[in-house]
Subunit: 434 residues, 2 copies
């Protein structure tokens, strides 16, 4: 038996706005940041659990405050019983009625639950000596169902539906583990497409992406239609007629504007239009999807919880579901979302980039392939090639595919030196600027 | 010209959990709290602007951190130009892309924008010597339209729609101001119905409510069906066949359970069923409304933003829209929501109670009656009779109606002594407990 004795948080920020990495139509100057949490126990193994919430700068201290609000749920608790029932513990955190009021089930409190839940999964995976994707993929179907909070889902998915979906994939899991170890999971890259990059840089990075084995890139759109037409034209010329080019408007439009704008870009055959409007607007996504068909509609990186995703699926409002590792309440809620997507037979192409999102979300896609959907068809994990050097187990992307991670854990652990240097506002990177 | 020179925040909490005031099926033990903000200028008038976000205890410090994140937008700014363009300034706050990421447009960041915007309205109303409702009701229709952020609304409401609605009421505004001053705005009371009260207390408080001139009470339901049937029966017996009795499940149910439960209570002819399920679930509210007809469906106290309300209205998912003074981004967004309700011809019966919600939201309903919907028909403002003694201008509710406030301001200003004593954790109320 061991006791959770350590709960520490850090405000970590990278000055990415200087290079316009990550710039888009809504977010001109992000400083990619992490509200970071470390859990430790009094066990002799010295293992820790690490989790984080990705933010883009100001407000990261609010997210840290939200993490700290949960310290009382963790310190002094028996680690073995928490780790053995992460479904139950996730529900305990979600049921803190005073903290829940600040959402409910959305925003910093919800994301804090996600980081803490993910940190516990990280600790459990390290104790079991497994990468998270494999740990999850070796649970029984019944154990997976027990991880999910079905509240508010039963009009679309109940435990028996979930069990049926999982059972259908059970006997073939081992085959897919082998496939995954052999060929990895497809990636697409957003690296070429940031709005702050000029045409020459964008074209060069598109060519590099193709040469490095990617089959899809993504360009940011939505600030200026003429620019978008020119940039899409250049990208299509560089990449040829069959390469997949997704576009991403980062919530810039209302319904009519979205339809008109995307129709102007449809001649370049976009692989999908991402975040055409408010991430909360199920009915607008449905209307836009009808208006821009056959261009597929994608959203989800700001999808606040399973209730939103359930409705996007029920309303047939999207073609591609883009879950995020740190926007919802963690691994458990993301399993609910993967099950919903499988039930409605929609592709999941996770959002990544940011700080550590690639490292974390790959585990969910790989688990999905092995145990939930059973498919990689038309699916990609986003890949952005920055800030990986700050992680203990950075992603390995080669020839346009994520290699299945072998290291124990859930991927969020940062190097102590990176945390120290980038701690806001006292770390040396920020102190030097002040 | 004057400069905004003061921006201070306070973590104010009342130990309401001791008496089970405010207890419901989701929130068994709230400590009603306020994340409070005070704005001041270097003007000789000494006037301040006050705003707050209502929370229920733990996490109030997270909300205070969210308020503090906006200090940089305010300090040193020219007060006159901000107050003269609160539509523009509200949009400035909503457009801080780094802070927006933590929502977007929901949760603590969004509510912080609400409290700050409301504090600016409070300051402006005090400078103009007007209660907020009257200040708003004396703006031109064009000025009112300019206060609204129409982003994401244009598929349901655009500026020309809004202008048409407002113009239709313009010539008769003065009549309704007279009516309001003469007879006030109808109130209903939730005082009798908290789940933690025993039958005798509930019955006694129902009788008192009727005797004090209320025409509607509200009972909490959703924890135990047998209890609900017994309590509804007692309330109906005490109040007679024609008195309005609303019921409130505080998000406890999924779709099928909601329909079954409400059907069991339908024999008591509830005035509405409030928050039957997740406040985010537009499609579930639509299904529940169809399933429980003719019982009206109400929701909104946790409605995160105008995009959610727009969809509830577009989907014909509700009969009664319950906006809240501190859940969204303040007066400006609530004007958008009132305009949406008027466009879709739905009743608005605001959520109140909590800390200062009655004091604030009455201004919105009165403005709505004078300038937007033009109607009080079937409309009530919730009233809960506690914590008013901590406010500088507490509501006056007599014979079941809110008297139109005459004091300048927007209603949120608390007594300095109340703030001091209830500051968490150092104020004397909390220090004594520690």
């Amino acid at each position: 038996m061991s006791i959770l004795t350590g709960f520490t948080t850090s405000d970590v920020r990278f000055p990415t706005s200087l290079l316009l990495d990550g710039s888009d139509a809504m977010n001109p100057d992000p400083d990619y940041s992490a509200a970071y949490v470390t859990l430790s126990t009094d066990a002799d193994d010295g293992l820790e659990g690490h989790g984080l919430v990705f933010t883009i700068g100001r407000g990261n201290e609010v997210q840290v405050a939200a993490l700290n609000a949960f310290g009382g749920h963790l310190l002094g608790r028996d680690a073995e019983s928490l780790l053995a029932d992460l479904g139950g513990f996730s529900r305990e955190l979600l049921s803190d009625s005073q903290l829940r009021w600040l959402g409910p089930e959305k925003g910093p409190i919800h994301m804090a639950i996600g980081a803490i839940t993910n940190a516990l999964w990280d600790l459990r995976a390290k104790r079991e000596g497994q990468p998270l994707w494999k740990l999850l993929a070796e649970l029984s179907s019944e154990e997976i169902v027990d991880l999910v909070d079905f509240r508010y889902l039963s009009d679309a998915l109940d435990p028996s539906d979930a069990l049926r979906l999982l059972k259908a994939q059970e006997s073939s899991r081992a085959e897919r583990v082998s496939e995954l170890l052999a060929t990895g999971y497809p990636a697409y890259t957003t690296g070429p497409g940031w709005l702050g990059y000029d045409d020459e840089k964008m074209a060069r990075l598109c060519a590099e992406a193709r040469d490095r084995g990617y089959r899809q890139v993504k360009l940011k759109v939505g600030a200026n239609l003429d620019d978008d037409i020119r940039r899409m034209g250049i990208a299509r010329d560089v990449l040829g007629p069959d390469f997949l080019i997704a576009i991403d408007a980062n919530q810039r439009w209302d319904v009519v504007e979205a339809i008109e704008w995307v129709k102007e870009l449809a001649r370049f055959r976009p692989a999908w239009i991402e975040e055409p409007t408010s991430p909360d607007d199920i009915l607008a996504h449905r209307a836009i999807r009808a208006g821009v068909a056959p261009v597929p509609v994608a959203t989800g990186e700001h999808g606040m919880n399973r209730v939103l995703f359930k409705q996007l699926l029920q309303a047939e409002a999207i073609d591609v579901l883009q879950l995020d590792a740190t926007r919802t309440s963690g691994v458990n809620e993301n399993i609910a979302i993967l099950l919903l997507a499988a039930k409605f037979q929609k592709r999941v192409c996770p959002h990544a980039g940011g700080v550590g999102l690639c490292e974390m979300v790959q585990h969910l896609s790989m688990f999905d392939f092995v145990a939930v959907s059973g498919s990689r068809e038309g699916r990609f994990i986003e890949h952005v090639d920055h800030l990986h050097e700050h992680f203990v187990t950075p992603v390995q992307v080669q020839q346009g595919a994520y290699a299945a991670p072998a290291a124990p854990g859930a991927g969020a652990e940062m190097l102590p030196d990176s945390i120290r240097k980038h701690t806001f506002p006292t770390g040396e990177v920020w102190a030097a600027r002040a």
